[in-house]
């Protein structure tokens, strides 16, 4: 069995890691809101946001290389969405792309908007990477629950976190079983076995889900999920929260 982690650096110890998960969720959510609501022309503000997040990253002792790698992994999705923006936004045409019988005009407003989407998306991704890696995933889930995110949603995510690796291990075992019984099979045969594996995996996870539900019933589950919490918001949490909000507001104001 592999010991996979979604939140590799969440067990470090730093000023940021020690903050209450609820405070962290709130602060990073505020960061994202400020970033999204900053007008695209305020280049300097975006730069300052980036500096702020880099500062937090340094404080959290998460390796910069890791954050960079993770953030770039997510960027292709943003590019896919952003790539079309400059072509359909009306405005001053800078350049017209001739693709056979379709003519695509590229506008200045469109380009600005694309830049805006990419920068804001990147900064928001940095925020979420920092959040996920400075709090234990389990604590984050409980934090969301305490912040009145619907229990059902929190439960679905927590079951996903618990069983993702169980199902992954199952898939790996089936792959090993397939490989040890097939000699140089490729092409259509391979696709056929792979689709069978997917089907079996689905049925197995379905059956597992049923068993888990029975196990829950055995221990008195009747509907609501109840867990214990033992958290207290400390003075340092409040300082952290106030400090971050003041900085965010200063950055926002300085751009005006």
């Amino acid at each position: 069995m592999r010991h996979a982690f979604l939140d590799e650096y969440s067990r470090l110890d730093s000023i940021l890691h020690r903050r209450d998960p609820r405070v962290k969720i709130g602060v990073f959510f505020a960061c994202i809101l400020f970033i999204v609501l900053t007008p695209p022309e305020q280049m300097r503000s975006f730069f300052l946001y980036f500096l702020l997040l880099s500062g937090l990253m340094a404080l959290s002792r998460i390796p910069a290389v890791f954050v960079l790698r993770k953030s770039l992994e997510l960027m292709p999705i943003v590019f896919c969405i952003a790539a079309f923006i400059p072509f359909y936004k009306p405005g001053v045409v800078i350049f017209t792309l001739n693709a056979g019988f379709i003519r695509l005009p590229l506008t200045h407003t469109g380009l600005m908007l694309m830049w805006n989407v990419i920068v804001k998306a990147y900064l928001s991704i940095l925020c979420s990477i920092l959040l996920v890696n400075t709090a234990d995933f389990v604590d984050l889930l409980k934090g969301f629950e305490r912040l009145r995110i619907p229990r059902l949603v929190v439960m679905i995510v927590s079951f996903m976190y618990r069983y993702l690796f169980v199902i992954e291990d199952e898939l790996e075992r089936m792959q090993v079983a397939r490989m040890s019984r097939s000699v140089r099979r490729s092409g259509w045969g391979l696709i056929k076995t792979l689709s069978n594996i997917v089907g079996v995996l689905f049925i197995r996870s379905y059956e597992k889900a049923e068993k888990v539900y029975l196990a829950m019933c055995c221990r008195g589950y009747t509907g609501p999920i109840r867990t214990l919490h033992a958290w207290r918001i400390t003075k340092n949490d409040i300082y952290f929260c106030a400090f971050m909000l003041i900085i965010l507001m200063t950055i926002r104001m300085s751009g005006v």
């Binding site: 010991h3 995933f137 389990v138 889930l141 927590s158 079951f159 976190y161 618990r162 069983y163 690796f165 169980v166 597992k208 068993k211 888990v212 029975l214 196990a215 829950m216 019933c217 055995c218 221990r219 008195g220 589950y221 009747t222 109840r226 867990t227 214990l228």
Partner: protein, 264 residues
């Protein structure tokens, strides 16, 4: 005589696909007794266990300490009967070990301090206290198995129901489990293929095959009945074989090769 803590009367069950699993089971277990439930694969052992706390129910009656297992009694029945599944990945579904062991007591609506105490006690019993804050998928199989047992011990059940508790356990942890179960003063019902384990911890044993109880009684009497066991996909455990000494390699050689002098 005191009334049996578990009474099953003509319990029958057929799976939705038509497979009959239980064909009229009658079974009584006295308070404080440890019953070993043995039988071949597919005999209906797991199905029977799921009837004890009302997870499955079709025909017949199940009574736990005199209380009929029906929908309105389910919450108190499930507090009395602690059932541990064979697969620890099904038993452990919460994100951390603490939450998993606390799941039962919290559902029983115990006060916070009592829940914490129950969790610590249960984890201490299975020797897994240091793992309290860990996530279940980072634990070894043996560790998961022991925590599975802690998840019901924390509910302080009157009857402990275990499905294949020793499967896939290494000898050391199997030994630990035996010691633990011997010390627990509750009624236990254990479905298993591990007959040596039955000899060590059970007071009586029931043989289940094709959904029926074939025999119930004293452990040594039943487990040394070669004909009965072989007719139902089982075998006499090694420690009870009368001819056990013949299986020592030296002894076999002697009987196969008679002394040379005699041949001459």
């Amino acid at each position: 005589m005191e009334r049996p803590i578990v009474e099953l009367n003509n319990v029958r069950f057929t799976y939705p696909d038509g497979t009959p699993a239980l064909a009229g089971v009658d079974l009584c277990v006295a308070r404080g007794q440890t019953l070993g439930l043995i039988g071949p694969n597919g005999a209906g052992k797991s199905t029977l266990l799921l009837h004890l706390n009302g997870i499955l129910k079709q025909h017949g009656s199940v009574r736990i300490s005199g209380m009929e297992v029906v929908d309105r009694n389910l919450s108190s029945i499930r507090g009395k009967v602690g059932l541990v599944f064979q697969d620890p990945d099904a038993q452990l579904f919460m994100p951390t070990v603490f939450d998993d062991v606390a799941f039962g007591p919290v559902n029983m609506q115990l006060p916070k301090v009592a829940v914490q105490e129950a969790v610590v006690n249960a984890l201490e019993l299975v020797d897994m206290l240091p793992a309290m804050k860990r996530s279940s998928h980072h634990l070894s199989f043996g560790e998961k198995k022991r925590i599975s047992i802690a998840t019901v011990l924390s509910m302080n059940p009157e009857i402990l129901v275990l499905d294949e508790p020793t499967s896939n356990l290494d000898p050391k942890h199997r030994r630990g489990l035996i010691e633990l179960l011997k010390e627990l003063p509750v009624t236990k019902i254990i479905a298993t293929h591990d007959l040596e384990f039955v000899i060590e911890i059970c007071d009586c044993v029931a043989v289940l095959d094709r959904g029926k109880i074939i025999a119930q009684g004293d452990v040594v009497n039943i487990l040394s009945d070669k004909r009965l066991l072989e007719a139902h996909g089982l075998e006499v455990p090694h420690s009870l074989r009368k001819d056990a000494h013949r299986h020592i390699p030296g002894a076999i050689e002697k009987s196969l090769h008679p002394p040379l002098e005699r041949i001459q």
